[in-house]
Symmetry: C2
Subunit: 504 residues, 2 copies
């Protein structure tokens, strides 16, 4: 049947076709059917007949993605017929039925997501099926490869390509620039791409961009990495495994991150940048993605099995994550703490230790013995600082950057202890919520400074942490949350008292 | 933050809020986050920032459902803040984790679907989790009750309220008007609501509306049923368990129908019309929803267990469904076959037998012995025809209706057998596809007449079935499909030959 094509005023990335209910009945079409639309070229779209305002017969509103595909413009005549569902709906149902998928089937799902052939409803069903029924290692390897194949790749002229990745979930993890600078100082190449905060208070790219540009194109990233040995870029500005980014948006409202998707997501970005050697940091503890050592070991085994299938040498580090890494949370605060350590500051030790341990593992993969000690030497020698400045300058920052250049938000409130005792536990998730309430990561100067960590002695009235921000109401709101959550738990040394009657 | 509200030109039933990406960043909002929008009243909506055409800061496009809720009009100022996800997202995740849900949790999901608080993505995840992890009988009973509670109910002044339901999947099942007329002739009340075709070639309402009005409001339905004892209405014109209809649209592209949803869907409509006694017909065979006797028994047990919890006395009939019921498929053809039987025609026997068996079960629930024999007597006596005419007239049809008044489409093509032998099997799904290609159910005169059924002898060149239609190209297309599918399989009497070597 012929329709007059109209473009929606608020076009959408989803390929959507809207007609009035009467036309749909005439064509024997139902809500959410696929239709094929023919103009100069053809495209499929999903039918919506629920839009209230379409009362006029013979009109078909199309999203601009469809308009572009069929090369039509507003008012053109288009031909509309029923179209079958994409083949990969069968694959999604197969996964619902707990069957193993072939490489080809997985690749088709990923391609169809990329090309907008699947609606959000269908991608959501795919993710739910993955969450419940999972994938085996061969399926995940195929899934990873399919995500790589649907995006761009960076081909370095220099090899080997070292890389590392933190699974995340622990706040304050500002080690990336330190690790990169140490490894590059040793003459190895580590072209690190990082993410921005998804649900956390501050991603690596969120704090790195307070002192240099992180939105590099692939050509610039390659040039800087090959020349300096290091780079700390935002992965999102390149078209690496783009399906992953599309899928994350749909995971978000569901609050799920299926294991297969998570593993494929991490490794696809690494395969796309051509990593040959990879260290994966698995932060483990309550309030992170990986709760127990046993879980962490399962992840480590999966990563290494996947590495074998994908041709990357992978080693894993299980790291302590029951409290934040270091003291600072939030873009400027984390940047300052990170640069202070490069400048020679000996605190916080947890940051130095974690950075040198991970850098050390990478050095050892490159054939350097006693990696962690060697990493600490490089850090203490000032070589890492020099390398850091080189990279910062190459990424458009100031070579002479000093930690003192980084000034947090002008509003600051302190949260004190209401009793004396020892810090028994710190709730990562609550700290993240408080930092976000203060404005982090969008307000660069917002965040938290922890003055007490686990096991330390606290007297009533001692300051536990400071809340920084660029907006007074936000800092006040954050303090309210802090008082409500009490994220730092103080206890006497005696945690549990067993009475005589209970012992008997 | 303040925004100027704009109404989308093609509004949607989904509560959607669209702003430009820069505004979202400023507010710390991500794609698919929930936002609360305040004008005269408040509403939540899901944020979309991917719409290409929104470049202007400070504008917020809202779907008309949201505009109505907040009582704003185009150009009004609205206030927008982040809002938490609906609580029931947790319930959906619980079901993904295979946990049992409480009555309250299930009720909240159903209410949130009704009120548009869940996006299609989230409903899709819910359905996928139900499909994979299922529900136990207590959960399904709670689910059914929740679907009833979110819709209207019909309260009859006359009790008991008898009802029956065919699970469907078998084409040509035109028994409803016959069963209703027989039962009502016996002085019992059977207010039957039926559906239109979803994936089939012709639903009960599709053929009943060829001779009377099926779109009754609840008041009219009640009046007709109480006065005549019977009614054959379309369930969709009343607001009975409306969530079911919303969910079916989302099941459609996924091609799934989770068992829990199917059971709750059937029973919620029955509870909503106040049924006290219910017979459920479970058509069983290849090419229907229920493939094996074992499956059918499981359904029967579930229905009876649910009936106990919901306070309905339920009995189940497992019926033969390896081929269509009777000879006619398609609205006018089925209506004609149905009325011919009421007029006294003795064919097709399969329709008479099935109708009298089911009517008989209902009569026996009402205390009448030898139900099936009694049903056949009522049919043969002409009482059922008289009652049928009464109901038809009450539903706005012609009291003097005759089967010959129903004239199928003027285009007819015949499909003949290419060999001699016996009808070994009939593929229901293929017949449905052919009938739909011919135009059924929208073209009322379109459909099929089967001249041969299973086990019958066929000579090469004998006509197997006729294709009727109102449009020549559709009938031609249907015949092409018929030749491609060969839905009626002819074999010699010897189906499998076991050779001596294999027997040894």
């Amino acid at each position: 049947m012929k329709f007059i094509a109209k473009i929606m005023d608020v076009g959408t990335a989803d390929p959507l076709a809207i007609m009035c209910a009467e036309d749909a009945i005439l064509l024997g079409l139902k809500e959410n059917d696929r239709v094929r639309i023919d103009a100069k070229k053809s495209s499929t779209a999903m039918l919506d007949t629920t839009r209230y305002m379409i009362k006029k017969r013979g009109l078909m509103y199309l999203s601009d993605s469809v308009m572009n595909k069929i090369e039509a413009k507003d008012g053109d005549e288009v031909d509309v017929v029923f179209a079958a569902s994409p083949e990969c709906i069968r694959t999604i149902r197969k996964k619902m039925d707990k069957e193993e998928l072939t490489k080809e089937e997985i690749s088709e799902v990923v391609k169809d997501i990329l090309n907008g052939k699947l609606s959000r409803m269908e991608i959501s069903a795919w993710l739910t099926a993955l969450y419940i029924n999972g994938m085996n290692i061969d399926e995940i390897a195929a899934f990873t490869q399919a995500m790589v194949d649907t995006g761009d790749r960076i081909e370095f002229d220099r090899t080997p390509v070292y890389d590392f990745h933190s699974m995340g979930g622990v706040p304050g993890n500002k080690i990336t620039p330190i690790v990169v600078s140490i490894v590059a100082s040793a003459g190895m190449m580590l072209p690190k791409t990082s993410s921005r905060a998804i649900s956390s208070a501050c991603g690596t790219s969120d704090f790195v961009e307070t002192f240099c540009n992180v939105e590099l194109d692939a050509r610039t990233l390659k040039k800087i990495a090959e020349e300096t040995g290091g780079v700390f870029a935002w992965g999102g500005s390149m078209n690496l495994a783009p399906v992953d980014d599309m899928v994350i948006k749909i995971e978000h409202p569901l609050g799920i991150n299926p294991r297969a998707q998570m593993l494929a997501s991490i490794l696809s970005k690494k395969v796309a940048v051509g990593a040959t050697h990879l260290v994966i940091d698995i932060p483990t503890g309550e309030g992170t993605k990986v709760k127990t050592l046993e879980d962490a070991r399962l992840y480590a085994r999966d990563f290494m099995d996947l590495g074998e299938r994908l041709g990357i040498r992978i080693e894993c580090a299980i790291t302590y994550a029951d409290q934040p890494v270091g003291s600072a949370i939030g873009p400027i605060l984390e940047a300052r703490e990170c640069i202070r350590i490069l400048e020679g500051n000996k605190h916080p030790e947890s940051v130095i230790e974690k950075a040198c341990d991970l850098a050390g593992m990478i050095l050892e993969m490159g054939g350097i013995n006693n990696g962690p000690e060697r990493a600490l030497e490089i850090l203490n020698s000032g070589k890492a600082l020099k390398k850091f400045r080189e990279i910062v300058a190459a990424q458009g920052g100031n070579y002479d950057i000093k930690s003192d250049d980084l000034v947090p938000g002008k509003y600051m409130l302190e949260v004190s202890s209401v009793k004396s005792g020892y810090v028994h536990s710190i709730n990562n998730k609550d700290l993240v919520s408080i930092a976000k309430a203060a404005g982090s990561p969008n307000d660069k100067g917002a965040g938290l400074m922890l003055l007490r960590k686990k096991g330390q002695r606290v007297e009533k009235g001692d300051i536990l942490f400071q809340i920084y921000g660029e907006s007074e109401p936000k800092v006040l709101r954050a303090k309210d949350l802090a008082i409500k959550y009490q994220p730092i738990v103080i206890e006497g040394m005696l945690i549990k008292k067993i009475t005589a009657s209970k012992v008997r």
